[in-house]
Symmetry: D2
Subunit: 385 residues, 4 copies
């Protein structure tokens, strides 16, 4: 599998104290398709330098700014193949643009940008560039999510009617951002997160998961956002009614003020012939019910798992895979897309499920429509195609 | 406990082939406060007679119509103390009125009536009569629901912010009513069910549970009803956004087209200090999380259960109680209310939690508001106080 | 169902403060086949009298001793059809004998007696009498246990190889009997319980469940009993290796010193083609795996449930039944056996699954063999046929 | 964390088609402490070569035999720091000895060897060498297992009384080895596995987990092994009674013929003050009950997790870690031990929990005692200290 050389990876953001940067680095290592060789790991130069040293970056590839990195790496014969952008949201657009223009493939965290317009610019720019642009809706990397998608698109549950997706957390029940906790601080700061709080941080994951696994597209939303914690600047609870293009209906709930929930993303899809249920905290299981038959508990690598699920797993059943492996799957799939580009061949179709810039833009459109609907007291509002 | 004489019970509806009538009879027996002595068990006289014989009713108290029963029983020295009305919904109002006017206490199934106006009439009539009028929102009889209420009203989870309630079933995924299946037939027939299908049948339970356990009142709703099964005459999937009078927000989902769900009523309530979660299919458990602490799994009759829960249970922990015992609790509480009336004393306050005619009317108001909102494309619509 | 007259029931034991007596009375009421009309409810006359009054017994049928009751009731034209014996274990034998000799059917709690010899006497006496003698191994009344038995005896999991049964509780982690708590006091007192503590109280249930559901017979045992709580007079933790007559092997663990367990009886049976798993605290579910296929979650009254399970249930799926309904099933089945005797007809075969005096004696034999093995440092010891 | 140079890793075994070799390689990468630079990956030279090429090994470090590798690497200035031995069991001893003698640290799969004598030789040799010798009882790398150990050793559940451990799988329900499936073939072959089948493969994991988490030592065993599948050469079901040195008692069940179980390792420990429960398939959770209080569900990185658990985790709660991360923890801890040796300093005490050669030898002693007991019809047999 890794007889080919590893792809050379650069990283923007993810320095000291960052959660998601460390996740991306582990994810990139797990299947051994990448080697981290360059970085601009923090916006403060001194912190960027310290962070790169701690990661063992060569000093000439431990950059103070991503602009320098893009310029220098694009000129090196051994320059990075691909960059991971793992900064707070407000940086995504400019950084992604910078690397696309330097001819470097991009892996970018979600939400893609903080405005629809800027998301569209990236779609256009990526399209022209011919480069790979992956967006890390990481929950789509779970094998049982891939399998759910294969089942549903294969007609196993019939015509999709009802989609319930929820993503509750409890960690922002108090005004944690007032304590200076880094994760809370930037996520609740409109300057760095954009106009959506909980909605952008986790609601977008729920939205992508629902569309990805069901193969359905949300046509319009009726939303009721709330900020329950006094002093908070962005929404912390998101209630949305969904109408899908095919006539299915659904609900999306995301919350960061639901104590007892850690990261409880959960999807249920029901059709004319059956239903499925999946929970991120027990990601190795998938319940499948064919109407009129008892529920079957499918397990990762267990009996009855098809090609899409098998593609995204490493271990036999009963040996739990988790969040890092799902994240790794996106990196692994992106590596295949990049290598296929480099080799001018078609990629493995299973790898093509990795979310791309259009999926990222769609998430930004969703956020925008939800904000508009909530501002209009829950009026049904279309989601941009 | 039952050294007192048993209350004499009559029943309207619940004859051959009825599900809920048999449930009511078992519920009335479990704690030994009632003896079934009279009935008008079906609308067809012959079927009514056969049903009463099968239950061992004396022939002179096995009535062809409830009107006869009310008239005759109110004159007997050993006449019934109380009547259970377990017919399809469209009969509830007239039957209840008939027995109230005959001076007989009433236990009535939900939804109370099919229109707000008729519900209000019953509220007024019951108020004037001074009689007990219980409405069998049976899920409020579960000890862990009572305990959840006690916890929340006692401030254990702080100010209530988020209420998520759902009630999915899958049994109407196909057009089962076309097969003549009795339960499906009347529930999907506007003539017998009224204008709401899934909404009236199970959505009202979810609504009552949410208000009962949380102590909060729904102020307005934004609803999106659907009928997914072709040929069905009433809604079979109900998506509702909720706003509560105290500022809490929530969602209510009820469905009868969600394969894999049998009777999956589930409530989650989150506040500024913690949260609770309860599922009807595992009714002996209640998860309680205080923000910042791990989740505690409370169990019926286990450590930490207070007076309200203890009042509603019969067995030590680990010996599961179920649906019938919860139903029995309403009968037992109603017996206490009736005896207290008869004895001109105050009832045990724990028994006063049994839902009454105003709760029944509130459910009818909720149905009406949801239908109005859904017809108005989800416009926020107030729920009558 | 109950067009026939109710059977007249007497009760020995089960007075004030008794847990299991109240359970038996509810169980007898649920399906409406019995009417409690006589009792000798406690060994102290005054307490017996008070207890009977509280239950509304007529004063002439509220006896001071069971001997009086047997004598008087056998002479009445409206005398009891059947007696329930729900005393501490040491009374079972003499009371059962007394009623058998009076020609009265018997329902007796387990363990049947405290010695093998006395158990055999009852088998002989019951056999000669032609009377019904049911023993309340109540867990065999659960519909999913009945269904498991039907599956296994029907060959669904192939040749049975491995049987794991366990029954942990935690309530005797401390020396609760020292506090005077009634349930703890008699169960840990060799005078009232016999020579086995945890083993007789709950180990016998586990043993019966394993044999009942699997259709296999334990041939020999190797046991290691322990008394962990200082000052306790009987065993409180039971570890046993099992060898079955057909070559299957298994383990039985019972404990009353396992905090975190309430009444966690659990059975797993594996064969050459599949396996099943059932837990008493989630009694409405049964996991079935056919080797090479994913696990199927069968539910009471759900898809795929056969005649044996359907016979033992009252409600549709998702409406949980519990401990009391399982107990009621034994009463209901015993009623059918008694009526069939009275009518000189064959009973419904499904009702014949109710455990009888031979099953009771077999449990006593098991206890005896386990005690012998444990005394012999775990030597393999045969279980009397 | 990885500012230090990566340790240079060699591998013996783990070539094409091997499951556990790939696991070790991912485990070594996850926390970035190792770089795989050499290997003797298969016993057949051609397969060894192909396997090394596929992994990108330099041709001069892609060895045909481990003997060559030990000899050559010990002479290189950039020779491997440490070797991973991931062959079938019968090779472990000779390979480990070879690298110890070459002065190279060792990470070895379990069971350490196939005889007690050879295990002891390795203990002696490792002791003399002063080298790090880790044995991959990988389940001890799970953070919640570490936390359980910390709780129990900290007295949280009082004096340990009862230890129940089980490890059922179902994959060998049929004679899979007859199909040539590689994993089944060597595990059921006495030439490659040694005299124990299921016992050595997974029973040893259960044994280590029980001792590791509880801090107790098994003093003697009474065992009943079985081979259920006709034609199989080694045991496939293991029933053992345990007596611990402190007086605790327990049971160990391991099986590879239990359909419905994938890799269901599960530990329960009960003491005088409480109990814990952990399951490998839901490894992020740990149930803790203090006697008299409700059960608390502890979660990885959640509230109430101490230093030992925190040491072994990478992600916030609700972001599941799994089997690979637990495996990685052993590699990460071994890296700390190796670096501490190299730096002549004391290692982080948390890292010292990684199982060593004595733990490996103890597992071999356990296997030997269990085999002896089972051969002696379950006679209690001491486990070598």
């Amino acid at each position: 599998m890794n007889s080919r050389r590893r792809l050379r990876l650069g990283m923007v953001g993810g320095g000291e104290g960052a959660f998601i940067g460390a996740v991306h680095r582990i994810a990139a290592r797990i299947d051994d398709h990448y080697e981290l060789v360059a970085g601009a790991l923090a916006s403060e130069p001194e912190k960027a330098r310290r962070s790169g040293e701690a990661l063992g970056l060569a000093s000439d590839r431990n950059y103070e700014t991503y602009q320098e990195m893009a310029a220098a790496e694009s000129k090196r014969p051994d320059g990075i193949d691909v960059v991971s952008i793992v900064t707070p949201n407000h940086i995504h657009h400019d950084a992604a643009r910078c690397f696309l223009e330097a001819g470097i493939h991009v892996i970018c965290d979600k939400p893609l940008t903080t405005t629809v317009k800027r998301a569209q610019e990236l779609v256009t720019l990526a399209g022209k560039s011919g480069l790979v642009f992956a967006v890390t809706y990481n929950y789509s990397g779970y094998p049982m999510v891939r399998h759910a998608r294969e089942l549903i698109l294969g007609g196993e549950i019939g015509n999709v009617r009802v989609i319930q997706v929820e993503y509750p957390q409890g960690w922002l029940t108090d005004l944690l951002e007032a304590s200076g906790q880094k994760q809370a601080a930037w996520r609740t700061d409109p300057q760095r997160s954009g106009p959506a709080g909980c909605l952008g941080d986790i609601g977008t994951h729920a939205f992508h998961l629902a569309e990805f696994a069901s193969g359905q597209r949300v046509a319009e939303v009726a939303a009721d956002l709330a900020t329950f914690v006094e002093g908070r600047l962005l929404d912390d609870n998101v209630n949305i009614l969904l109408r899908f293009a095919n006539g299915a209906k659904g609900m999306l709930w995301a919350s960061q003020v639901a104590p007892g929930n850690q990261n409880a993303l959960r999807l249920r899809v029901y059709g004319s012939k059956g239903g499925i249920e999946w929970s991120q905290e027990q990601p190795n299981d998938l319940a499948l019910t064919r109407h009129g038959a008892p529920t079957t508990q499918l397990t990762r690598s267990g009996a009855g798992i098809g090609a899409a699920g098998a593609h995204a797993t490493r271990l036999p059943g009963g040996h739990p895979e988790g969040y890092l492996e799902a994240y790794a799957q996106l990196y692994t799939d992106a590596a295949e897309l990049i290598r296929a580009k480099n080799d001018s061949r078609d990629p493995d179709p299973a790898a093509a499920l990795v979310p791309d810039v259009r999926d990222g833009a769609r998430g930004v459109g969703f956020v925008s429509s939800v904000l508009a609907s909530s501002s209009a007291n829950g009026a049904w509002t279309g989601v941009p195609a």
